[in-house]
């Protein structure tokens, strides 16, 4: 083995050791950081289309209430897509860092089907349910906030069902029932605050 080869091999060992050490440090640094499972940026409503004045019922964990908020968002003409964009505007509030009712990173509404004059089916993505906090109040506030927002903006909506990735799910995160239809006409669940 020539001196040159020995030198190159030694250089290679040093390089491997340095890279290994650097990788170890990167791993430790990454472990210290909070680990967002997905993109946490709020979903932006569509930029095109006419702007509409909509009502959002925003959940507040601190006092267990729904706050009625007005918002102007751009919505498409198709009724189902319009309903979806209104719910996405609501969810974007929950994905904000300062949200009064944080939802898991990446939560989104995939489709809204307005099946009958009084029935809506909302298909959410897996992050919506899988990353949802567990607890009666927090889960119920999410369901009530979505159902009331939809009922406020799609007149006549009485029965709402939430699916996850197109499938039925027994509960949202161990408590709130998703197996059955949620009846918005059954009376107000949570106190409303302005």
């Amino acid at each position: 083995m020539t001196r040159r080869v020995k030198f190159l091999l030694a250089l290679l060992v040093v390089a491997v050791a340095t890279m290994g050490y650097y990788a170890l440090r990167l791993k430790r640094q990454a472990e210290k950081l909070p680990s967002p499972a997905a993109d946490t940026r709020p979903i932006a409503p569509p930029v095109a289309g006419p702007t509409e004045h909509v009502t959002l019922y925003v959940a507040y964990d601190s006092d267990g209430t729904l706050h009625k908020r007005q918002a102007d968002i751009a919505v498409p003409g198709d009724p189902s897509e319009r309903a979806r964009q209104i719910l996405r505007a609501l969810i974007s509030i929950y994905l904000d860092k300062k949200s009064p009712h944080p939802l898991g990173a990446g939560a989104d509404v995939k489709y809204v089907f307005l099946v009958k004059p009084n029935m809506a089916i909302i298909d959410t993505n897996s992050a919506f349910a899988d990353h949802h906090r567990s607890g009666i109040l927090v889960e119920q506030l999410t369901v009530a906030s979505i159902a009331r927002t939809l009922a406020a903006n799609v007149p006549g909506t009485i029965r709402v069902k939430i699916l996850v990735e197109g499938k039925e799910r027994e509960t949202l995160a161990g408590h709130a029932d998703l197996a059955d239809f949620y009846d918005t006409a059954a009376g107000d669940q949570f106190p409303e605050a302005e």
């Binding site: 091999l9 290679l12 060992v13 491997v16 050791a17 890279m19 290994g20 050490y21 990788a23 170890l24 791993k27 964990d61 601190s62 267990g64 906090r133 567990s134 607890g135 009666i136 109040l137 927090v138 119920q140 369901v143 009485i158 029965r159 027994e170 509960t171 995160a173 161990g174 408590h175 709130a176 029932d177 197996a179 059955d180 239809f181 949620y182 009846d183 006409a185 059954a186 009376g187 669940q189 949570f190």
Partner: protein, 473 residues
């Protein structure tokens, strides 16, 4: 060739180092007030713990960082540790540690083997540190005796010196009890019994918990008694399912205004287990594979609800109101099974217990019901069986909330869409208990549990006195 092997080994070893994820380790500290878990961290291949985390529950520690010096004032003692040094001054006396003190972001870490010597110099209470099992006992420990009663069938009676609440699981040939919150120790690690059904018992402690395993020749079940100071292990009783009995007239009135305990067993076709008729059925939420909410790193909702359910049963029984639990161990039950078992027992009141970490105090929920299905003869529609009892359930929720306010415990009521409330043919509420302050550990303090459960029992008793009848049956 030899050199080449070494060159290959280095990157491989580094790759293994990078890929291997260290499992989290914890240390459990048992004090007379509470048990709490602290993360054990790895520094330079040794196990360390943050000293301040241990001391926070034992007194009033104050820390001042002066360069590489970590100065601690705890109660009336003063100590000084220096980063990178094995010698420290604890309560003004020198202490030699097997590894250097670590100072990171103002947090002081001591090597795990030094924890016992450090704490014993700072407090005057008796301390026992079991380093291998990572368990620290401050004050009294809990001991137990095991006695095999050769009855037919045989029973193993475990008597504990203090109340216990283990997680119980079974597997072929074994019944395992895991004690995470109790300072349980054993004088004898293993016992063998001259019996084919209950063959022996062995005790082990590891990973910050204690484990009691019963070796069995047949499936076993555990029942609790004497305010959780006694656990009786016996073979599982096989009960033949029977047709639902005809409706019974209300039983004689008991001390709480509700019917007194009836000797009649309510055995429904849907119920796999026979229960004596109880006035109140308590459903500890979750269980088995369903852990419920992770209230903290070591506190699962299913364990909290079971502790609270047992406490509530005791509070009700003190008022002369009979109560039964839907699960008295770590058992998986679906919401339909819970409703079927509860309805088969035909109680006057159903209480579903849950625990949460958002907020403080107690929330009392009734069913959020919309359209109700048509009644067919004397049968109620399964999905909306609660509808006929909703007024009684709301009255019950109001009564419990009023008692909470009398005890100065924050309480609110709301209707929710949570099973199995909708399927219950009785006055039914779901109660979500939260800690008294932001500290989740407060949920497990005996005083708080007793206070809240006493208020729930008084709320149930008050409704019983004012007229127990719910909806149509």
């Amino acid at each position: 060739m030899k050199h080449r092997t070494h060159f290959l080994a280095i990157p491989l070893a580094l790759a293994v180092l990078v890929v291997t994820a260290a499992e989290d380790k914890y240390l459990t500290v048992y004090t007379p007030q509470a048990a709490y878990s602290i993360k054990v961290v790895d520094r330079n291949g040794r196990e360390y713990v943050a000293l301040l985390d241990v001391l926070l529950a034992l007194g009033n520690p104050r820390v001042r960082v002066d360069g590489d010096k970590w100065k601690l004032r705890f109660n009336d003692t003063e100590s000084e540790f220096k980063a990178g040094k094995t010698k420290a001054k604890v309560n003004r006396k020198d202490l030699h540690m097997p590894a250097p003190f670590v100072l990171e972001s103002s947090q002081g870490f001591v090597p795990l083997p030094s924890l016992g010597p450090v704490i014993s110099r700072l407090i005057s209470v008796r301390l026992e540190f079991r380093e291998t099992a990572r368990r620290v006992f401050i004050g009294a420990t809990t001991q137990f005796t095991a006695e095999l009663q050769k009855t037919a069938p045989p029973k193993l009676v475990l008597r504990f010196s203090a109340p216990v609440n283990p997680s119980i699981s079974t597997e072929p040939g074994k019944l395992r009890m895991v004690f995470t919150r109790e300072p349980l120790i054993a004088n004898v690690p293993a016992q063998t019994f001259d019996d084919k059904t209950i063959k022996g018992a062995s005790f082990a402690e590891h990973d910050a918990l204690a484990e009691l395993t019963i070796q069995a020749g047949a499936p076993l079940q555990a029942t609790f008694g004497d305010q959780n100071r006694t656990i009786i292990i016996a073979p599982v009783q096989q009960v033949q399912a029977q047709a639902a009995p005809p409706p019974e007239p209300p039983a004689a009135t008991g001390p709480g205004g509700w019917p007194a305990q009836s000797a009649t067993a309510a055995q429904g076709a849907a119920s796999p287990v026979a229960h004596p008729r109880a006035t109140v059925v308590i459903d500890p939420g979750h269980g088995g594979d369903d852990r419920g909410a992770a209230l903290s790193a070591s506190l699962a909702e299913k364990d909290v609800t079971l502790v609270w359910a047992r406490r509530l049963r005791a509070a009700l029984e003190q008022k002369g109101i009979t109560a039964m639990l839907l699960r008295d161990g770590d058992t998986s039950l679906s919401s339909d099974q819970r409703a079927a078992l509860a309805n088969a027992a035909r109680p006057q009141v159903f209480v579903s217990l849950h625990a949460g970490s958002t907020g403080s105090g107690v929330r009392i929920y009734t069913a959020h019901l919309g359209e109700t299905g048509p009644r067919v003869g004397s049968f109620l529609p399964w999905d909306t069986a609660q509808a006929a009892f909703l007024d009684a359930s709301r009255a019950l929720a109001g009564s419990v909330a009023a008692e909470m306010h009398k005890h100065e415990i924050p309480a609110g009521t709301a209707p929710v869409f949570v099973r199995p409330l909708n399927n219950i043919a009785a006055s039914a509420v779901a109660i979500e208990v939260m800690p008294p302050t932001a500290d989740i550990a407060g949920l497990m303090t005996t005083g708080y549990q007793q206070s809240v459960c006493a208020a729930i029992a008084e709320g149930i008793a008050a409704v019983g006195k004012n007229g127990a009848s719910g909806g149509a049956r």
